[in-house]
């Protein structure tokens, strides 16, 4: 089954220190996982992240990994869709199957009283999915419906155009859903091939949290993943070259508001300036009601309900991007304000801004770890990014070490309005396109 989900993955993963004890667990079969054990509540949450995600699609089979992922829970082993769903419900277990540009994520929540049965069902879904014709056709029709919906959604239209301009031939340039044509051509064999490209033990990382011992987790890892192939049939994706240029793209859309999307170069998470950029982003547009953009565009002028920016740190390519919506009549004014603030950060930040940003970024970090479900997801995400297990203890010091000069330097390097691409979807006034309108 398909759920319409827009994946938002900001590289804001961070980790609390003292409060969290992360253990590395190795199963008898040699599969590794990170675990935060806590028996307060009688259930466990486990997240399995398979690297590469939908970026491992064969180019001519775009959408295969997405369709495959959505069909994993539609029957496995001896059970068809209905029987499989009934079996999961009878245990009170919850499974999720999601895929994005960088990972295919499988999540499970299972009660302690029947954890083994839940793990057995999940193992069947991963190793013996049926991909029955009726189920594939039903899920395919849902995917086609999502493709139609996104084509009439201005946010999606803006994101699609920005990705197209940014990423050239890389899979990041196109939607993980595929196109109406590519999806309609997919066969059952394509889904099996797609599964073998991504669901393998050489590319999986695991995070677990809750009521489970390391020994029990080891057995669960072998039970769930042991039957998967050792290696995926596709090499992991190559890094993408950012091809974005400065300018304004306008896509005509009949609506009272214009969707304003903007993006420029970002930086990788292991870049020495990453934390300086992280602090800079908070001050510029990441800090909710406290950011400069929010102050100038919403608080002072009432031109939007919300404006924000983020470091979009994909594993294979990065941008520094943002977005807002506002009246067509004032879009030109908003674009000018965004450009001005984008440039102004290179003139430096005040001590107050720097300190407030640091106290927020270090203080909010333990707030993310308040639940087994959240912790399991964060532990898996840390491994996808390539963080060491002790990152928990070093992360806040890296934020603290950022100086005003660091912020200024990274802003001067990356935040240049002449390199900023705007994609405007609407009927904006006071701003003109710098290139011809793309076909929609």
């Amino acid at each position: 089954m398909i759920r319409a989900v827009i994946a938002v993955f900001f590289a804001a993963l961070a980790v609390p220190a003292q409060a969290i004890d992360i253990q590395e667990v190795t199963s008898p079969g040699g599969i590794k996982a990170w675990l935060v054990q806590d028996d307060t509540i009688p259930f466990v949450a486990v997240e399995f992240d398979f690297r590469g995600g939908a970026s491992l699609d064969q180019p001519e089979k775009r959408g295969a990994i997405n369709l495959m992922t959505a069909t994993l829970e539609e029957g496995a082993g001896s059970r068809d869709s209905v029987a499989f769903a009934q079996a999961v419900e009878a245990l009170g277990a919850r499974f999720s199957f999601d895929v994005g540009d960088d990972t295919l994520s499988v999540g499970v929540r299972a009660l302690s009283e029947n954890r083994d049965e839940a793990a057995a069902l999940l193992a069947e879904a991963l190793t013996q999915p049926r991909f029955d014709d009726a189920a594939v056709e039903r899920v395919r029709a849902q995917v086609q419906s999502i493709i139609r919906s996104e084509a009439t959604d201005p946010q999606s239209i803006a994101a699609r155009e920005m990705a197209r301009q940014a990423w050239g031939d890389h899979p990041y340039a196109t939607s993980i859903n595929g196109t109406a044509e590519s999806v309609s051509a997919l066969t059952r064999q394509d889904l099996v091939a797609a599964k073998n490209r991504v669901l393998a033990r050489d590319r999986v990382v695991v995070g677990a949290a809750g009521d489970i011992t390391p020994e029990e987790l080891g057995l669960l890892l072998d039970q769930v993943l042991g039957g998967l192939p050792e290696r995926g049939t596709a090499p992991l994706p190559e890094p993408a070259d950012l091809q974005l240029t400065g300018g304004v793209t306008v896509i005509d859309w009949d609506s009272p508001q214009t969707v304003v999307s903007f993006a420029g170069p970002g930086l990788a998470i292991d870049d020495p300036d990453y934390f300086a950029a992280y602090v800079a982003n908070h001050i510029l547009g990441g800090g909710g009601f406290s950011s400069r953009l929010m102050e100038e565009i919403r608080e002072k002028r009432g031109l939007t309900y919300g404006v924000g920016t983020g470091l979009a740190t994909g594993v294979y390519g990065q941008t520094w991007q943002g977005g807002m919506s506002g009246s067509n009549a004032t879009t030109g004014q908003a674009v000018e304000l965004i450009r001005a603030e984008w440039d102004r950060l290179a003139q430096g930040v005040t001590d107050r801004e720097l300190n407030d940003a640091k106290t927020y970024l270090t203080g909010e970090y333990p707030l993310r770890f308040d639940g087994n479900g959240k912790i399991a997801g964060i532990l898996a995400g840390m491994q996808v990014i390539g963080f060491p297990i002790d990152y928990v203890n070093t992360r806040n010091a890296k934020v603290e070490a950022v100086t005003a000069d660091d912020v200024k330097r990274v802003a001067a390097k990356l935040l240049r309005s002449d390199g900023l691409r705007f994609v405007l979807v609407g009927r904006p006034e006071g701003v003109t396109a710098t290139d011809s309108q793309p076909t929609n």
């Binding site: 993955f9 009170g92 699609r160 990705a163 990041y172 009601f289 309900y305 407030d356 333990p366």
Partner: protein, 477 residues
């Protein structure tokens, strides 16, 4: 929460609430002398706490012609007090590593902060300050009115689904103010003033009209000490007024409506029915309707509509929705997107057939058992989020329930029988208080010739972060 004990279940089946019911583990409550009702939800796994203050006022309490004032005031509550500059509250929360926001619905307006537990006194002091000492500067109210108008433009005017939902709602509730959009009708929003906002504040913001929820890493003793220190000195503004709104008359004619918009990619149908809500000491019908929604639409593979429509190629998606946390009668809705090649009227006829058969035969015991298993498991998973539980109590108390009613709810759900569901289904789905709405794309000139639309792609990293996280059907500042 503990499993139901046998005596408690017996008491429930006999229709009597347990006289000296025990509080669930980690839940305590007390009321300050000024009338501020407080609930503490303990969870010491992480050094995090959530403070929520819920006011028993929402858009359904607004005077005619002033739609949107409750939500507009919610925005203006961030504009400062005698001692806080405009925006200073949020900035202070952020600088201390926390996040804050607010939201308004038909029945309540709520404000919350999520922050490290050692900063709890700071946010309680500021929240108490704006309960009593709001100031709205001359420069701020007009810019903020623009903000709420842009919010309406973004959330409603740019989205045909939201526009249609607004119209459907106004048709379903033609006398009760639930028919008005929470954010307000645009023309009325444009006329709201600072004086309107201050009058609303003076009438409705008082400790005896509020509920304080503290959830997370805080003990009841500490909670009481801080509540007394910060909220204790605020005097109540007289007796809390009873919430008497114009009620729906007996509705005698099911209504139909349709809207066509070029931005709609495919037909979607929603049928809403007026339905009873959760009432103090009387939540059985609402529990049956909650289970009914799960039975009808809770799973695409195993629910009644999923099995009969989605799995049989009649619908791409089906859904059934009901939320009983409401002061006055609320709505129960079923919706569907027809499968490719199935005309809207054919899909609706199939739906009617399935619903008629369900009303005829009642629910299947095996289906009910599976739904109950899910509900039992949810009791465990719910404990994973103190923030989520804060909503359960806040929303419950703000819509007139007692702490005991909220405590009892999981047991009442667990006790729902096949007969309860059948009765509730006949009462609601079998009645005439309904609106069936179709939102349609423009007719295609020749569907076979229409090229498939081009493909959108999500940029890695997705869209910019929205500044809010919004519970459905609420409007957030």
């Amino acid at each position: 929460m503990p499993r139901p004990t046998l005596p408690a279940l017996l008491a429930l089946t006999l229709g009597a609430a347990p006289a000296l019911a025990q509080m669930p583990d980690g839940i305590t409550s007390f009321t300050l002398p000024n009338g501020l009702e407080t609930v503490v939800i303990e969870d010491h796994r992480a050094p995090v706490v959530v403070q929520m203050v819920w006011y028993r006022n929402g858009s359904a309490d607004e005077p005619p012609g002033k739609s949107g004032i409750a939500h507009y005031l919610e925005h203006l509550m961030f504009k400062g007090t005698d001692t806080l500059e405009p925006g200073e509250l949020s900035k202070t929360v952020t600088a201390n590593g926390g996040m804050d926001n607010a939201f308004t619905s038909s029945d309540y307006t709520a404000y919350f902060q999520r922050i490290a537990s050692d900063r709890l006194p700071l946010v309680m002091e500021m929240e108490a300050d704006r309960m009593a000492n709001l100031r709205i500067g001359e420069d701020d109210w007009q810019a903020e009115r623009q903000v709420v108008l842009e919010e309406r433009a973004q959330r409603v005017d740019s989205d045909p689904g939201a526009l249609f939902s607004e119209e459907r709602n106004a048709t379903l509730f033609y006398n009760h103010p639930y028919g008005r959009p929470v954010i307000g009708w645009r023309a009325e929003m444009e006329g709201l003033t600072r004086d309107d906002a201050l009058a609303w504040y003076d009438d409705h913001y008082s400790p005896n009209e509020a509920i304080l929820i503290l959830a997370g890493d805080v003990t009841p003793e500490r909670a009481r000490e801080l509540a007394e220190r910060y909220y204790g000195p605020i005097p109540a503004k007289g007796e809390a007024a009873p919430r008497v709104r114009p009620q729906e008359p007996t509705q005698r004619a099911p209504r139909r409506m349709q809207m066509t918009d070029p931005r709609v990619p495919q037909p979607v149908m929603t049928r809403s029915y007026v339905a009873p809500e959760r009432d103090p000491g009387d939540q059985t019908d609402a529990a049956a309707l909650t289970v009914l929604a799960e039975l009808l639409g809770g799973s695409m593979q195993t629910s009644v509509l999923g099995r009969e429509l989605a799995m049989k190629g009649k619908a791409l998606w089906v859904n059934a929705g009901y939320d009983g946390l409401s002061v006055d009668p609320t709505s129960f809705a079923v919706s569907l997107v027809p499968a490719d090649g199935i005309a809207p009227d054919e899909a609706e006829a199939e739906l009617d057939k399935v619903l008629a058969a369900f009303l005829e035969t009642g629910p299947d015991q095996a289906d009910l058992d599976r739904v109950k298993t899910r509900i039992e498991a949810a009791r465990v998973y719910t404990l994973d989020s103190a923030h989520g539980r804060a909503y359960d109590y806040g929303q419950g108390l703000a819509t007139g329930l007692s702490v005991q009613d909220v405590n009892d709810w999981p047991d009442i759900l667990a006790a729902v029988t096949v007969e309860d569901v059948a009765r509730a289904a006949r009462q609601v789905l079998g009645g005439k208080a309904s609106v069936t709405g179709w939102l349609l794309p423009p007719p295609a000139e020749d569907p076979a010739e229409t090229p498939p639309p081009a493909m959108p792609a999500a940029a890695p990293g997705g869209a910019a972060p929205a500044p809010t996280d919004t519970p459905a059907a609420e409007v957030q500042g």
